[in-house]
Symmetry: C2
Subunit: 524 residues, 2 copies
């Protein structure tokens, strides 16, 4: 399939008049064909307006119709075959196996959302029957369910060219909820975006859905994305990226005449707490697991464990020795973009220049502008508490060991942590019994608590919560992974004394969809 | 019970050093004893910090413990007896029967939330069992449920001294969710607030809950409330009041280093669409119902119908004649505060001076600074579309009839509406069949759709949605009335491979609370 390098705006393609940019292969440093054209101001307006116009009809579609769309998108992506894998590998430097696995996850989550909306109970239908004879006032018949919020802007993520991009989790959740989607492609993998965008557009057309249910816009800077978030037709935003980028979108959305929700996944250092019993039992195994998690994908995961808490009084020499050896022996590897690599190297340099931070081990690093080398640092608990910059995310294969001097300091550090996507505990049963208060503090700081595991790898399932308090995300009330992600693009609507024949099927008295509902307060 | 006029800060009372103010009886214009003292900066900090410290222990309480607290609060409020009713009547000018009914609703909703958390299924527990043998990677055991967001600030509403104030819906929802509450009293009914505050504090103490689960702060301006919303211990805000006031709090919350959710209920004109068949069948009855709804409580309800849509081609003389007569004959009545009365009179004057607005009828109005007189105005659809100020809420016993000239203009007006708490349709079966597209547009604009009824009166039940898109509320994903309000103060947390014995009871494998859960995707 030949790339055109132009935006997909409803049923047509954008012009080739906007500013151009092209993708770079980070492994070979070669520029990749073709030139991509940024969407013009008029094209941004057209995509958002088409989404607004389509939102009424698309919001009125049945769960079955949305399930058919989601399944058709998965099929169209699979039909792209090797061309998609090759382009995604070229644009990201990620290995073929990883991209194939990510494609499987992307199609798998589209089908998981399809199954959910096909079944239908996800809308949380509630029925309270009326009572015309109630005194002193009749009781009305009141029924509610979740309905779509309206058009959603989805920003592609640098580090997941498929699973958090054009047809990734936010797009699947928004389409499942009944919301049209306008995607802003990531400038680092526009060809991958165009291929998947063509697949989504084909699925929308083959399902007979209105123009505007899907658009894909290109742009190399912040103009296109900012204009989309400002557009009055847009009602919610999904974003995965840097803290500065996410906060900028939050601020734009909050300053609109009509503020809108922003779901930005931004920054997390995913602390790992290693308790004494676990350290004594399996320090070496924990070191191996940590090394694997820190260096997986050259450390370019939002769940990368960037902080490890260890008691200063503990003999951690086995764990730290093993970890240092494994990190030193890790091969330097290609990162996603030159910008990510520079930020990583700057962060390593900052740690190295910090007199309160000790470098325990580091892999050999060349001066190459696209590769990252693993590193492990150590600091005292007091230093960590005194220097908030040590909580800054360092996106890449590095981690910081913090040695706390007392139980009190451990609790101080736990309380001082910013919001996190994940927090992990390594412990024995005795450790847990001894640290009940710590666990309670940590629960307030994160969306996901893990026990005796490692945070990288996020299971796509019904119970997953990939979210957490700010700055892990902009809105800790939500998850970006798993079927609960559908809720971020919905709002409850209630119907009072509404005639049965025009109620949504989910709320009709006869329950024609046979879904689970809360009827007069009881599950039925 | 003697009023002290000082804030309630955890287990102690605030100082009498801050700025003072007192309440006024709007019916008699007399100042009421005692002087109330605004909380000092140090007291604001202390209340918020105590709430933060209490949030871990209170968040860990069982549903049974929270149910006991909610029921104890209701009992303590009832124990206040006539003293509470007398004070609330004196501070608001509302009649005794209304205050008694509101007290019943307030205690009723506390007990409804108690029943919900006692039963326990509201936490939306989800369990996905693991599979250690899955290839290529083991599947983890993942379990999630809703957990409290942390301390909540609740602002008392001018128009509901009990049901949307110290122990009103937001406080009940927050305490049910497991969140400590800091209430900012309304300056117009501080004595009512102190009485209820004493009741809540007594309940917290009798239930053996930690200091800081509840505080009540006084203040006459915006300083105390703004400082609370800025405080780092505060994690969410509930507010009912003006659009300007709510937006100011939204802007403060969005600008924090850690932005937090604000649930502000602000402004709604609650459009009523009267379709041709309904007009022909029962125009006079609709007029009577409209009059009752517009003038109920001197029009001081957020669900007051301030806009009525009628086709220009229809003979509406019977409806308009009856409505005009009823409105003219309505007695002028005491409003809640001088400020509300002035805003209402200014709005009436603005309509009267607008050459595109015709005054159909008005009750006789004296120059009194505390009374409001009913009025009904009329404008053409084109004028309404051309003048966005005609969508501004006019808080008081007035409504605007808009005569649309065509189906196209009707749809334009529906599309141009701002977000609403309620939208009402009066129609026959044939009307509804003929207006399917209108209904689809209107659904995107509101939290509650009513059929052949009137929007005032909000049933407290499981399915109620008292919310809607901006500016009806700051966050259309939520309701402030009914049990679904609990969700606004929660966030999902998941536990991966977490040992069964330290999982919350709601997620333990044996389901010791016997709650409804989603297990491996199926309701169980």
């Amino acid at each position: 399939m030949n790339l055109q390098g132009t935006s997909i705006i409803g049923n047509s393609r954008g012009s080739a008049t906007g500013d151009t940019f092209c993708a770079t292969n980070p492994a070979t440093r070669e520029s990749l064909a073709v030139d991509f054209h940024a969407a013009t101001t008029a094209e941004v307006d057209k995509a958002a307006s088409l989404a607004g116009a389509a939102s009424i009809a698309y919001g009125a579609t049945s769960g079955k119709a949305r399930a058919a769309l989601l399944r058709a998108i998965a099929e169209e992506i699979e039909k792209l075959g090797d061309a998609l894998v090759e382009r995604a590998c070229a644009e990201t430097g990620l290995p073929e196996g990883r991209i194939q696995m990510e494609r499987g996850r992307t199609c798998g989550q589209l089908r998981l959302f399809a199954a959910m909306v096909d079944e239908g109970s996800w809308v949380e239908a509630r029925i309270d029957h009326g009572d015309p004879d109630r005194q002193p006032l009749p009781k009305p018949d009141v029924r509610s369910m979740l309905r779509p919020v309206g058009p959603v802007v989805v920003f592609c993520a640098s580090n997941f060219p498929l699973a958090f991009s054009v047809a990734g989790g936010d797009t699947a959740a928004a389409l499942a909820a009944g919301c049209p989607v306008v995607v802003k492609a990531h400038h680092a993998h526009p060809g991958t975006a165009e291929l998947v965008g063509i697949a989504v557009a084909a699925a929308v057309a083959s399902c007979g859905l209105p123009e505007g249910v899907f658009s894909l816009l290109f742009g190399s800077g912040r103009e296109v994305g900012s204009a989309l978030v400002r557009h009055s037709s847009i009602k919610a935003v999904g974003f995965t990226g840097s803290r500065a980028g996410g906060r900028a979108l939050m601020d734009i959305a909050a300053a609109r005449p009509e503020p809108i929700p922003v779901y930005a996944e931004m920054s997390s250092i995913n602390p790992v707490f290693i308790l004494p019993g676990a350290l004594a039992e399996r320090g070496k195994a924990i070191a191996a697991g940590l090394h694997g998690s820190v260096t997986l994908g050259v450390g370019q995961f939002c769940t990368n464990p960037g902080l490890v808490m260890l008691g200063a009084e503990l003999d951690a020499s086995e764990l730290l020795g093993e970890l240092s050896q494994l990190m030193s022996a890790s091969p330097e590897a290609t990162m996603l973009t030159g910008g990510i690599c520079k930020a990583y190297r700057d962060g390593i340099a900052k740690h190295s220049a910090n007199s309160n931070v000790r470098k325990l081990a580091a892999a050999g690093a060349t001066a190459d502008a696209f590769t990252g080398a693993a590193a492990v640092f150590e600091a005292d608990g007091a230093a960590f508490l005194a220097d908030s910059s040590l909580q800054d995310e360092l996106f890449g294969p590095a981690t910081l060991i913090v040695r706390h001097s007392s139980r009190e300091q451990l609790h101080q550090i736990a309380s001082a942590l910013e919001g996190q996507l994940t927090i992990t505990i390594h412990g024995t049963e005795a450790d847990l019994a001894d640290h009940a208060e710590l666990l309670q503090i940590l629960e307030t700081k994160t969306g996901r608590l893990l026990f005796n595991g490692f945070p990288t790898g996020v299971e796509v399932c019904h119970a997953m919560v990939h979210g957490g308090p700010y700055p892990a995300t902009s809105d800790g009330r939500s998850t970006s992974v798993g079927t609960q992600a559908v809720f971020r693009f919905t709002r409850p609507v209630c119907y009072q004394n509404w005639p049965d024949n025009i109620l949504p099927d989910e709320l009709k008295e006869g329950n024609p969809l046979s879904i689970s509902r809360l009827v007069d307060g009881a599950r039925a």
